[in-house]
Amino acid sequence: MAGFTFRGGIHPYDGKALSREKAITEIMPKGEMVYPVSQHIGAPAKPIVQKGQRVLMGECIAEAGGFVSAPVYSSVSGTVKAIEKRRTVSGDMTDCIIIENDGLDEKAAPLTARKYEEMSRGEVLEVIQKAGIVGMGGAGFPTHVKLSPKAPEKIDTVIVNCAECEPYLTSDYRKMLEEPDRLVKGLQIETGLFAGARGVLAVEDNKPDCIALLKEKVKDIPNITVVALKTKYPQGSERQLIYAVTGREINAAMLPADAGCIVNNVDTVIAVCNAVTEGEPLMHRIVTVTGDAVKDPRNFKVRTGTDYAELIEAAGGFVTEPAKIISGGPMMGISLFDLHVPVTKISSALLCMSVDEVAKWEPSACINCGRCVEVCPSRLVPSHLADHAEHFNEEEFLRYYGMECVECGSCSYVCPAKRQLAQSIRTMRKLQLAKRKK
């Protein structure tokens, strides 16, 4: 039975008040645009343009490198300046296509000339694939793959992840308030892919205005409902969300489809709507620029490929020198050592904090207090898991179900000894996953 919540989790300071009232404004990119060929999980895209070639806004510049992959589109019109390695959010040097923006925004032809109403199921999926849509909540899993499960007839619920449980993030919140019709349309397109499936808009109850607005919008649609989830991090974690909405539990070895569910992020569903109804490929997204080091925290509609530094500029610059800059939220985001990296399909926020809370504390000995056990949404024993990981005791790590960790970081957050629990566990998991692949 659905309980609209899960066991465990934390309630960190949410910081959403900084930017939640700020309506989305669009940023016009100024300098050169940088498009990494790998903005998703799976094979990198293959560049199909040459240096010196002129491209239009919405023109495909790199095609999918396989089924689990996604193409990349230019978000401006201009000239291809180079195809070279550039620094990206992860800190790695990745192959990128660099385009000199001519500022004309000359548009390419839409992806499809057909109307949604005339499209078959296969055509809809093809458009979604062609549009380069990936999970925009952060994981970047290609959406067309998600929407093509092995047994489509078993899918009975399509969930839109409107939880936005990460502190500070308000991009999904603004999107729900400002584009509810597209959100609902996108969900209708997705439920339309699965006969008899219902659609669920799952919103955390700290956004009552969104819940009321969406309820109003779906009141005449019989197979779509809005559910209010208890506000708690990590409510937006896929497994926890499915459990909260349907009462079904899945583990690390299963996919949401095994529980009859498809889960998509707000921005992703709106991108699906834009692609299918207007033939628009994925070229922009909403980014929350926030944190106490930013002068004017805002929500921006940003074209992919824009330099992060331009976002800071648009938000009025820094009030104090930030101690830490994070791409994404404070729980799962990636800290940046260099601000000059491009916005990608999965950049949800740019968070600038004046205090580095991690550097403030020195890790000390575990006192076995059990707080990590209480907050772990996967019901693990993080302190023991981290011990086993640090001692490289693979056997015990697996026996303690280390592979079931969702890496939400709740354990590190609550640890009074300030241990880097999530980091140790994540490192060991990565090693094990790499081993499995071999």
Partner: protein
């Protein structure tokens, strides 16, 4: 070309000033080890202050010596072995305070010093320091002292209050109850009786215990299961049946409140999972009951907790929690 130089120059500039990075999460809760230990010290204050008021200035001296010995030996040991100093995390203060509260006021001054050094160096530091000890250091030291100096450790005579003239001698009320002698339950509850410095006032200990529960430092599992299972055991096997006064004496006497709220709940030496904590609590209650009802002595809390501590790894082995989605995996 000029533009290229600019870009290169900028990159060089930013390369010089790299920002700090770290793995996720980037925020931390405010709770610290030191803060938690501070809360425990605070929660022990009502009982400690009552003990000092009830037993007089010597009780204060013993508590101070015990704390000083614990903190001093932790500091000294780490200095000698060239380890990072952890005396500031207040866990040694908790150990010292608990040890002092577990001593009768009649013991000589060197007793808490010896006990404190034993608790920290032998029970805690030799096993790897904070978080590594397999038994509660304060209780380990208490049992060491009881075994080595049983004459002192069972001498419960005291001069009441500050400057009281008459020495009150004799057994603790729980021993009196067991021998069929008279006892006053109300006085036991308030703490106006013989015993160790910190164990006499059930009321003061209860206030501290409730404070720990409400502030989230401890959860109810160990304490409640311990007390409930002891009551059930006494009810069934003591031969007094549902005699409220007898049950009340079991609750208020023999350091049960001190043990159940402050020593059985010691993080390091209790199971980490809730299920494990429930089993552990019930085990402690039954064991204490056996000691109290069937053994020649009247007390049993310390030994029950120490034996319970030793069983924790075993309890943790059988109570490894099932992860999220476990049943589904079994089916598939």
């Amino acid at each position: 070309m000029e533009e290229k130089n600019n870009v290169a120059g900028e990159q060089e500039k930013s390369a010089k000033k790299l920002r700090s990075v770290s793995p996720t999460p980037h925020i931390r809760d405010k709770a610290t080890t030191r803060g938690i230990m501070g809360m425990v010290v605070l929660a022990l204050m009502p009982a400690a202050l009552y003990g000092i008021w009830h037993f007089g200035p010597k009780a204060l001296l013993l508590l101070v010596l015990s704390i000083a010995a614990c903190v001093g030996s932790e500091w000294g040991f780490e200095k000698l072995t060239k380890q990072k100093n952890t005396a500031g995390d207040l866990s040694a203060v908790v150990t010292g305070l608990l040890l002092g509260m577990n001593l009768p006021v009649a013991v000589p001054w060197w007793m808490p010093v010896l006990g404190g050094c034993f608790a920290i160096i032998v029970v805690k530091m030799l096993f790897g320091g904070l978080g590594q000890n397999f038994m509660n250091p304060a209780l380990g030291a208490r049992c060491f002292l009881v075994l080595s100096f049983s004459k002192y450790m069972t001498d419960f005579s005291y001069r009441p209050g500050w400057g009281g003239a008459d020495v009150v001698s004799g057994a603790t009320p729980l021993a009196a109850a067991k021998n069929g002698e008279a006892y006053d339950l109300m006085q036991m509850f308030l703490g106006n009786e013989g015993g160790t410095i910190g164990e006499t006032s059930a009321l003061a200990l209860l206030i501290g215990g409730i404070f720990l529960l409400l502030s989230g430092v401890i959860t109810w599992h160990v304490s409640v299961c311990y007390i409930a299972s002891l009551l059930a055991f006494v009810l069934l096997f003591s031969g007094h049946g549902a005699d409220l006064s007898c049950l009340g004496a079991q609750l208020c006497g023999g350091g049960l409140m001190l043990g159940a709220f402050f020593m059985a709940t010691d993080y390091v030496t209790r199971p980490i999972t809730r299920k494990g904590q429930v089993i552990y609590g019930i085990f402690l209650g039954v064991l204490t009951g056996i000691f109290r009802v069937f053994a020649p002595g009247a007390e049993g809390v310390s030994y029950a907790i120490i034996i319970g501590n030793l069983l924790v790894p075993l309890i943790e082995r059988v109570t490894l929690p099932k992860h999220f989605g476990y049943r589904k995996q079994q089916k598939a």
